[in-house]
């Protein structure tokens, strides 16, 4: 198993740092899957996470100037690592004006991702700050736990409102209630609702638009033939939604959610070179 990569371009470096910061806000521990062409940050839906799961995919070519990977075996040319993304985020904080960042998988005393940040200096020799981030190597027999989740058979798919507005509203609602109801219909309307003994608050978004989905075999998904006004709804943990929204440092190119009534809300946030899927299950 070998992995070494290098980023020299400052814009790519800052972009990569932002992605890691977002991941760090969503998961304390997650799985990093390395393939020849892509990096994946994966959180599978264990009870310990409150049932949320995450799938984040990046094309390595959009970030790294050099990228060499050799997996566990020729037929399984991938590496799965368990890591604490906050550690990686902190290491990258020192790289804000770096000349280059090198990342390498090492195993001196225990497996680590060694992040070496080369900083500009006035003298001819560079300053290098090295961070050793402990990682766990996930054996191949467990790789099945981290498969890409399929798009659920949703009742309604809708584009999200302007994230800044949604973020403000959810942050305030978080002060008032532990759970939030998110409901939407095929007429581009979405409501966010909280209700407690003290107060009830509903925010109405209109004209959001519903993304067109075509299923692979060409037949109608369960969303078709549905009354346009009828709302699909799910009650979810408001902190999880707030974490997802708070973690978005840059406006995504596309942001949408798929609601399976009373079961799960599937968020898809697409940026130019990163896609993030986040699943929040409905509360009992």
């Amino acid at each position: 198993m070998r992995f070494r990569a290098k980023i020299v371009d400052l814009a790519c470096l800052n972009h990569f740092s932002r992605v890691i910061n977002t991941i760090a806000k969503l998961a304390k521990t997650c799985t990093l899957r390395l393939t020849v062409g892509k990096l994946y940050f994966i959180l599978s839906d264990k009870v310990a996470n409150g049932g949320v799961s995450m799938w984040c995919e990046l094309c390595q070519g959009n970030f790294f100037d050099e990228f060499q990977m050799e997996g566990v075996a020729a037929e399984h040319n991938e590496i799965y690592l368990e890591l604490v993304p906050e550690n990686l985020s902190r290491a990258l904080k020192t790289a804000q004006s770096a000349k280059a960042v090198k990342i390498k998988l090492t195993n001196k005393h225990c497996p680590c991702l060694r992040v070496a940040v080369e900083l500009p200096s006035l003298s001819s020799s560079s300053r290098i700050v090295t961070h050793d981030i402990p990682v766990g190597v996930i054996p191949r027999r467990l790789w099945n736990d981290f498969r890409e989740p399929s798009v659920p058979d949703f009742d309604v798919s809708i584009y999200l409102p302007v994230l800044k507005t949604m973020k403000s509203v959810v942050e305030r609602m978080k002060n008032l209630s532990n759970s939030i109801v998110i409901e939407a219909n095929l007429s581009g309307e979405m409501n966010l609702k909280i209700e407690t003994d003290l107060v009830s608050v509903t925010t109405h978004f209109k004209d959001l638009g519903n993304p067109p989905w075509a299923s692979e075999d060409g037949c109608q998904s369960s969303a078709q033939g549905r009354d346009l006004e009828s709302m699909a709804e799910a009650r979810i943990d408001i902190k999880k939604l707030q974490q997802l929204l708070a973690g978005q440092q840059v406006n995504p190119t596309k942001a949408l959610c798929n609601i399976v009534s009373k079961r799960i809300v599937h968020f898809i946030l697409l940026h130019e070179d990163v896609s993030l899927q986040y699943f929040i299950p409905a509360l009992a």
């Binding site: 302007v162 305030r172 609602m173 003290l198 107060v199 608050v201 109405h204 004209d207």
Partner: protein, 281 residues
């Protein structure tokens, strides 16, 4: 007005109904008195008064007169209810506290009367939020009975002179001691904290002093934890009047000008701290 709410089915108008183009004109004033969860709201034809009290020693009032609102109608002589101020503020600022220049949150408030919830309709950028906040039985409030005839000492200061002093008050001191006198030190703020005592004097001829009417030397102490929240009102204000009566009760009145140039007032009343001996004075 972005929207109108229909009157109650009984055909009677709302006990209180009001519209405000910029919700922050209300929320910023309410924040200046937000040191307890609960507040009592009084509405009369002249406007809205929101009162917060603590420990039976301190009372803060925010006055938002009817002219600030685009529409303000009170059906009975007065309307009173108790409400959770933290919840009210979260609702008024549902779209965030810092808005882009040129955008603002429009507000409509309706209250049907005793026992009904307070309804808020907020709109920004085409997005509408509807809030229903339960109200409670109003409780009896303190009456400081502070009228101008009982005032012993009074000064009016420009707020910028006091802001730093209040922001940096030594919170390890249990009390804030205020001395007002026709003679030196004229106006002195003192604290007695872990690191020692600190005294801040304001001369009567200072540029910051707009009015100085001190007839008697008075030194009074107030629990600093009770007065600290008044810093929020001070931060918003341009002028503050400081008055004491014969028993040492303190009145702080803050003149607040909003971004549209309209004036509102916030006042704080505080009882002197009883636990002091003659010897300490």
């Amino acid at each position: 007005m972005p929207f109108s709410s229909p009157p109650p089915a009984s055909g009677e108008p709302f006990a209180l109904s009001a519209s405000l183009d910029k919700a922050r004109h209300l929320s910023s004033l309410l924040r200046a008195v937000h040191f307890q969860d609960h507040a009592t709201c009084f509405a009369t034809a002249s406007g809205l008064r929101v009162t917060v009290e603590d420990a039976k020693c301190i009372q803060a009032n925010a006055f938002i007169q009817a002219e600030i609102f685009q529409e303000f109608a009170v059906q009975e002589e007065s309307v009173v209810f108790r409400i959770n101020l933290s919840v009210l503020l979260d609702c008024l600022t549902i779209f965030g506290t810092s808005s882009l220049p040129g955008t603002s949150t429009a507000l409509r408030m309706c209250y049907r009367g005793y026992g009904y919830p307070l309804m808020l309709f907020l709109e920004e950028g085409g997005v509408v939020t509807v809030c229903k906040i339960n109200t409670q039985e109003p409780e009896e409030l303190l009456d400081f009975d502070f009228c101008s005839t009982k005032v012993v000492n009074k000064i009016i200061l420009q707020s910028e002179g006091l802001r730093e002093a209040f922001a940096e008050l030594d919170m390890t001191s249990e009390v804030l001691q205020i001395t007002m006198s026709p003679d030196k030190p004229y106006f002195r703020l003192s604290t007695f904290g872990n690191a020692g005592s600190a005294h801040l004097d304001y001369p009567r001829d200072s540029d910051l002093m707009e009015a100085f009417h001190c007839n008697q030397t008075q030194t009074n102490r107030y629990k600093i934890s009770l007065l600290k929240p008044s810093t929020k009102a001070l931060a918003l204000s341009c002028k503050v009047s400081i008055r004491t009566d014969a028993q040492g009760f303190l009145s702080l009145q803050y003149m607040i000008r909003n971004e549209d140039g309209q004036i509102c007032f916030v006042e704080y009343y505080c009882c002197p701290d009883e636990d002091i001996t003659e010897a300490e004075l």
